[in-house]
Subunit: 325 residues, 2 copies
């Protein structure tokens, strides 16, 4: 009998390879620089899309809209997307709703691109072009390597549409090192003990905060919220449950002063707080690329927490690998 | 001694007037139809901005990006915003961060518009034009009437940039009726009893789901998450706490079948579920306008829940009317 979460662990540790394949795929896809981009995705892919939104705007200077599937599919919005590129992001490429969004976008003037791990999928067929990630099959329901692959592909598109050249080799080295580590025992214990978790990140680390929260819900059945700590201060801080565990993604060193203020505030409220700093050496990377590496220790801690709780993150109760709504 | 939440209650019941003033203000502001829009806001105003995003795209067909303050202020993103309109939404107009976002946007080619309740505020001074809501002073920390006013102003801009003419008088009548009601006792009891609340909406009702969740956190210190139920199915459904109260905003009748499936799923999980259908008569309104009216019964229920819990929603512990981060 395989260990619980054996697939998820293998896929977490395959991420250096998934990263390399995705960057290579993105660099070989022919896609002209668009004047603006709309991204469509759900679940883990939506968190990758949010990361892409930050990189595409922050690095390439392209405005990015996160598409609302209901506007496309339910209300048939009359959006003028001339000059826009619509990107559908889906590991399986089988989510009907996202394919429908790309068809709607094309009908409204956009060119379309699929970012998917399956080259013969519905999404790849519907789109004008497909960026096929080449991650190899992903079998754990809680996605990890395709999250990293989708993020990497979108980052590579962003740099390709800019005059900046990132140090991919340094990212690769960071991933190799992170993927060889064991999970942080103290952190996984705290995550497993929490009835509720709050995962805080800002800027380039915000998408990872959402993704870690989603993994906690899938793999540990711990209700979790990912949030910017700026947004936390605008109201929600009044209601954080005392028994919550708070994980602060502190890898963005331009935010150190702000993260310090946050920590003091949480301590004052009696909240159990853990910080996830960047993997040593990752501080040399460009800010926008650090979350690619920081994903791995967070995923490992979530997996270990799920195992402590006796769950199988490879097949969470009530979830399937492809969701249709 | 005034009753707890007296200010909040008065301001909830002033919403018909705040609505009328905001629509009039929006119709008199001179703003040319932009090719695309970026919205900047925090907290309650961010929920109003999300509503604006749905109306501006769904009614006027204008693509809308929700601006990331960190890209503007922290990373200085090189975004090309030629032809764009940047809109800052802030009740007080005093949030430095949002004013900075508009200055950044103007520097990158956008025209700028402030949507604010204070005509001599920082935001109004910084922007090319100001849409001043005319709601009268808002004194409860938990904002209600300026939420409705901001939503109404953005909706009026959306219709003004389209060839559709909404039935404002019918919205006004719906607001008048809703504002005269007493809170739903069963719902407020359920909200007060919950250690955790999940507020679900889709499409045009999604922003109200986020706003009701924020009000619950501010006024009741109940941790709450606002979410699309499509997103809920992509993972979080596995982790909804058994003792949660779930409020489904079911006012969008095009989603009735989907809402029914959701209800069955929640019942199967043993989740305590309440539905908030639209106020009677509101079904005659265009879909996008119904959430303006549906806000009121939700706000009244949250206020009543806060009172049951012995809190004062006018001055929640740890919060101030203007937040700077």
């Amino acid at each position: 009998v395989a260990e619980r979460g054996a697939l998820m662990e293998a896929e977490i540790r395959e991420q250096p390879r998934a990263f390399a394949a995705a960057v290579a795929a993105a660099r070989s896809v022919e896609a002209e620089r668009p004047s603006a981009i709309v991204l469509f995705a759900r679940g883990t892919s939506d968190n990758a899309a949010l990361y892409g939104r930050y990189l595409l705007e922050g690095v390439a200077g392209i405005p990015v809209m996160l598409g609302a599937p209901s506007l496309a599919n339910l209300y048939g919005a009359p959006t003028d997307l001339s000059g826009w590129l619509a990107v559908g992001v889906s590991q399986s490429g089988a989510t009907r709703e996202i394919a429908d969004c790309l068809e709607w976008a094309e009908h409204h003037g956009a060119r379309t691109l699929a970012v998917t791990n399956e080259d013969d999928s519905l999404l790849a067929q519907v789109a004008n072009r497909a960026l096929v990630l080449g991650s190899g099959p992903e079998r754990a329901v809680a996605a990890t390597k395709t999250y990293t692959a989708e993020c990497a592909a979108l980052a590579a598109l962003a740099y390709g549409w800019s005059d900046r050249r990132p140090d991919w080799a340094a990212v690769q080295a960071g991933l190799d090192e992170a993927a060889a580590q064991e999970p942080d025992a103290e952190l996984s214990e705290a995550l497993a003990a929490a009835p509720f978790a709050l995962v805080l990140g800002r800027g380039y680390h915000l998408p990872l905060a959402h993704e870690v929260a989603l993994k906690l819900m899938e793999a540990c059945r711990v209700w979790a919220t990912g949030m910017s700590w700026a947004d936390l201060m605008h109201g929600p801080i009044a209601a954080v449950p005392e028994r919550a565990t708070c994980l602060v993604l502190a890898g963005d060193t331009t935010l150190s002063a702000s993260a310090h203020d946050l920590a003091e505030r949480l301590v004052g409220l009696g909240i159990r707080r853990h910080a996830l700093a960047s993997t040593p050496g990752v501080d040399a990377l460009e800010l926008g690329l650090r979350p690619l590496v920081d994903a791995i220790p967070a995923q490992l801690a979530v997996l270990a927490a799920g195992r402590r709780l006796g769950y199988d993150p490879d097949a969470p109760v009530g979830l399937t690998k492809v969701t249709q709504t």
